[in-house]
Structure formats: C-alpha cells, structure tokens
Symmetry: C2
Subunit: 264 residues, 2 copies
C-alpha cells in the first residue's frame, strides 16, 4: 500500500523485540491434576501489546527451584510473569521466594493490609490471611478487580495468582502499561494437502521471506485432514505478500487455499 | 494394615525418586494459538509408572534454544520427553537439534525408512517425507501405532511428536518399560471452608507429616466455593492417617469433609 511508505524506514530498521517468560508455579500442574489455562491467555495478551513470550516453565512449589528460575528468567527476558502460590496456605511460597530471589525482606504492605481489613469482618483477618498482604520490600501492588488479594511487581517480575479468573482480571488492568515492542502480526492459510506434499515449496518460501516466521501445523478431525500454515512478522506488506505467494503455490499443487481465522 | 509389615523396611528407607522433565517444543504454544494437551497426559502417565514430572518447559523452534534445553534437562533429570517438531517441514528441527545436543550426526534410520516406504506409493516418499526417517546416530526407534513416523530415544531423551493422539499412542507403548521409582499415591478431601480458615491447622498438619505433600486448591463454581486439599506420599498408611486427621480438623471447624475423586 502506497500510504504505508512513510513507515518504511522504521519497518526496514531492526525490529524492536521485547520478550517475556512465564513461570507457572504449582505441583498441581506437574502432577496432571490441573490443566493450565493461564499460558495461552498470557501469550495472546502479551502479543497484543507487542511482547513476545519466548519461554514458559512449569515448576514445583519448592523454594530453591522458584528462586533459581526467577533469577534466571529476570536476567534473560525483558518481563517475567509468575502464576500461582500467593494464597494464605503453607504451600503458597511464591512471595517469599521472589523476595529471596531479589535478596530483600518480605514485608506487610500497608495498602494490601488495608484492602484485606476492609474485606474481612473483625477477627476474620487471621495470620494466614495476612500473608496475602506480604510482598518483597520495594514491590508495587497490582490492583485485583476480582478478589481482595493483590498481585505485585518487583523489578521486571510480575507476580500473579494461579486462579485463572483472578489472574486475568489483574493482567487485563496491567497489560497496557507494559513496555512493548513491534507487534507480531499473523496470517494463516489452510489447505487439504499433506505436509510432505507442501514441504519443499514451503521451505523455499521461507528462504525468500527470512523476516516471516512460517509454521506448519497438520490437523486431523472427523476423517478430514490437512495443514494450517501460520505466517508471522512485523511488516504487514511483507506478510500479505508471503501469504499470497503461499496461496499461489497451494493452487499450483491442485488444492484450494482457505484464509484462516484469527488474523492479526 | 498388618499384612503390609514385610514392606516396612523398604517404606522406612529413603524413597526411590525417579524424575522427569518435559520439553514442549513449538512456537504455536508460545503464541497462544494452540493449547497444549500433552503435559497433563504425560504427567499422569509418568506418575502411573513411578516417575515424577519435576519440570516442564515450553520453548520455541530455535535450534540453539532446543540444544541448550535438552542438554540441561538430560543432566538434571532421569528422563526427558520432548514433544513437537518431528514432521517433514522446514520448521521441524527437533531431530537435528537433539543430534546436535548429543554431538552425533543425523542419519537415515533404515527401519524408519522401510516403514515410510511401505506407507507411501512409489514416488510419494520425497525428500521432505524422508526427513521423518532421520534420527541422531545411535537412537532407537519408538514404535508408532497411529501413523507412520516413529519417535526415537537417545540416551535418556525420548523424542515424541506434538499431535496429541499420536504422542499418546507412542507413549502408551513406551511407559511400562521406563525405569520408575516409588509411586506417589494421593488422596484428596474437599470442604466448603475458605483457605484462610483452614490455613493454620493445615500448616500444623503439614509439620506433623513432612513425608506427605499437602496442597491446597481453592475452587469457585456456580456461586459455590471451597477448597480441595490434595495429599501425596509413597506410604499408603501414612497417607490415610494424614487424610483422617485432615477430615477431623475440618469437622472441628464445623464443615463437612468430602472424599475427592481420582484417588491413587
């Protein structure tokens, strides 16, 4: 499109890539008792604001493991998000472990304590519940629109609860103030060809578009099978051009390319 | 139970703990496009044969990242399982990356090639499809009862496809020959109490049963809320005793303990 011209110098320069890592903390995910629902939500939400999820780790409720994972992730990635382990029970050790990772004490945050005091009747705010007001010294609270216990941020680490609805409420209020980079746009094209039929042409297409990431995902359902090709990149014109070339080569192989859903 | 007596010396000695790590390889999981279904299946299947999943990592289709993750995981854990990236297209780089991790060449496995030859009509087994017969030198094929492309094992690393149905078929044939340790048994108890009400007694119970791992998971659905307590350990008698004490303390707090489903 000719009216995209003024943006060309930006598009041609090095992309601004901002990365994230998600640490899913909880024995219940590693035992298979609970199916994680947070990773996909965070992945899509982060991409909306120009942040690329580069790694996710599921780790147990073991202090040394959490400390090591937090310290590795906060060095390697621009943003780190943890889920799980910030409730009132003995197995909720995320806040203490994050404090240990930053080598700061765990303190009662006065605003978090006030939130809990306003929620519980007198006498109900016991020592266990007061644990939900404890954060590493220097941490900033993350507002929780769903329940009373806030998440918190320290450095580039965002500590969120594991219950999906509450995690989502906090993240939705948080995401637009996260520093993002160039957003990854996507197009997808499906067809009823085997991956092996398409592979050679697809590889050549990938070589012509090194700036576009091309993924190939076979599908099988109700006796039907085929492949969905997902193209991602930051330059919309290049993305559209690659998708059009892909459709042409699918037609040359005698199949009918279908535009996928969920275009970005 | 008195007839458990002969096993007591074993139960009292150090538990045989065998660990595993799962590496989920694929940009589509990290972008949120695809919801992973393999982690929970592997977690439960591993526990059945006495193997504890201690970590899972979701990593992108980037060779250096896969090589580093495989090499770290195979040192730290007894068994490593990878899912994804072993199809015929350019983005399927798991086999090459695992070969690089073990510093061995990638070769065409004659048995895998024969399997593909018997599946495809003459002329259909092109160079891309032949990639599915390529394994690191020294790898052993893992039979695939669902489709034609086998997984493979090299050292303590098991390389599986990402498509859940096919991964499951291979894993089901494989799991009973994996070397396992003491199996973690579980009991769960639910009640309609807030976590904060139960937390102090639960922490004291955990202190009395350091050999039993007690997890506390709040639930909220259809206006109902409460908590599920999951107890895990290798000694069935200790597990039952801890669960009975837990039920007593729930009753003392005025609530009605319910046995959970999925006892092991």
């Amino acid at each position: 499109m000719s009216d995209d011209k003024p943006q060309s110098p930006t598009a041609a320069s090095a992309p601004r890539i901002v990365t994230a890592c998600v640490l899913i903390i909880g024995n219940e995910i590693l035992s298979g008792r609970t199916q994680d629902e947070n990773l996909g939500f965070l992945a899509r939400g982060l991409n909306e604001v120009g942040i690329r999820l580069r790694e996710a780790r599921v780790i147990p409720d073991i202090a040394e493991v959490i400390v090591a994972a937090v310290n590795e992730a906060r060095q390697r990635f621009d943003h780190v998000f943890t889920t799980g382990g910030i409730g009132p029970t003995h197995d909720d050790i995320t806040a203490q472990s994050v404090a240990d990772a930053f080598a700061v004490p765990l303190i009662v945050h006065p605003d978090a304590k006030r939130l809990l005091e306003s929620h519980y009747s007198p006498g109900q705010l016991n020592a266990a519940r007061l644990r939900m007001a404890m954060v590493p010294e220097g941490a900033v609270l993350l507002p929780n629109p769903i329940s009373r216990a806030p998440g918190f941020q320290i450095g580039n680490v965002f500590v969120l609860p594991g219950v999906p609805r509450i995690m989502q409420g906090i993240f939705e209020q948080l995401k637009y103030r996260l520093a993002g980079g160039d957003r990854l746009l996507s197009r997808s094209v499906s067809c009823r060809l085997g991956e092996g039929t398409l592979a050679s042409d697809l590889s050549a297409l990938q070589d012509r578009y090194p700036d576009i990431e091309i993924g190939s995902y076979p599908y099988f359902h109700r006796g039907d099978f085929g492949v969905t090709l997902v193209l991602r990149g930051i330059d919309r014109d290049r993305l559209v051009a690659a998708a059009e070339e892909l459709k042409s080569l699918i037609r040359e192989l005698g199949a009918d390319p279908q535009d996928g859903v969920g275009e970005g």
